[in-house]
Subunit: 124 residues, 2 copies
DNA sequence: CGCACCCTGTTACAGATGTAGTAGATTCTG
DNA sequence: CAGAATCTACTACATCTGTAACAGGGTGCG
């Protein structure tokens, strides 16, 4: 379930509002990408081949909708990044973010809040 | 400075010990990948084209060494992930990790330590 | 009903990636 | 020195990705 850069753009549209036709998706991405209708159509069909989307025919038009959740796709992407660029552990990514990505004090505070929340609602 | 999956494998070798010849790199990756010598050579040369590596000729052999640091490459990869799969902010990635990636209580504690440490050594 | 329009499905093509063979230059070794 | 072992440089080829044109079928408006 590896998605390419352009494919992520389309998936985000479908995660926001689905089912949607190729034209719907085109309209949602046109300003940002300038893609031709056929470009969008090709990519949508490739996503169906990959089973990232499902398509249903409604009259003569295909309506697309996600076959995977955004969180699942994100999880796959994060784990792929960990494998190729880090040592496979989330810890090393977190460490990198803290030492290299310059989280602001505000972001650190927010992170702590999230941690506290997760501690409260259990979880091993 | 976008690196492909296979390229990351080679870069990790060079970050560990450089300069190194194509054969050195082959030997370091052979067990894990089963690549042919010429495969490694091709990829190393492509990395030089991309300016991810530099090569110096020593006698009749090219010795390769990183032209970018591991942290810089990781930073590029993390930011690319944020752009394509998240909303561009580190916060949303952190949020994802906390809610989806099942950090253990132990990992959460470790993260808090890192946060405290970063608060202490300044940083906005 | 006919025409304009939209949709699908097919085909195309260049660049990146994964993977590797081969020719010719160079160097070690006996 | 001659042969073996190495190296580099070039070439090759399938697949994936980004991008799109085009042909032919369905459909709604006048």
């Amino acid at each position: 379930m590896k998605l390419s850069d352009a494919e992520w753009t389309l998936m985000h549209v479908l995660w926001e509002r689905s089912p949607a036709s190729a034209r719907d998706v085109l309209e949602a991405t046109e300003a940002e990408t300038g893609w031709a209708y056929s470009t969008v159509k090709t990519m949508l069909d490739r996503l169906v081949d990959k089973s990232a989307l499902r398509a249903r025919k409604r009259a003569n038009t295909l309506l697309y909708e996600p076959a995977v959740t955004r969180d699942a796709a994100r999880g796959t992407a994060v784990r792929a990044l960990l494998e190729k660029a880090f040592d496979g552990t989330l810890g090393s990514l977190v460490h990198h973010m803290l030492s290299e990505e310059r989280l602001s004090r505000r972001e650190r505070a927010r992170l702590r809040e999230l941690l506290d929340e997760h501690d409260r609602r259990g979880g091993a």
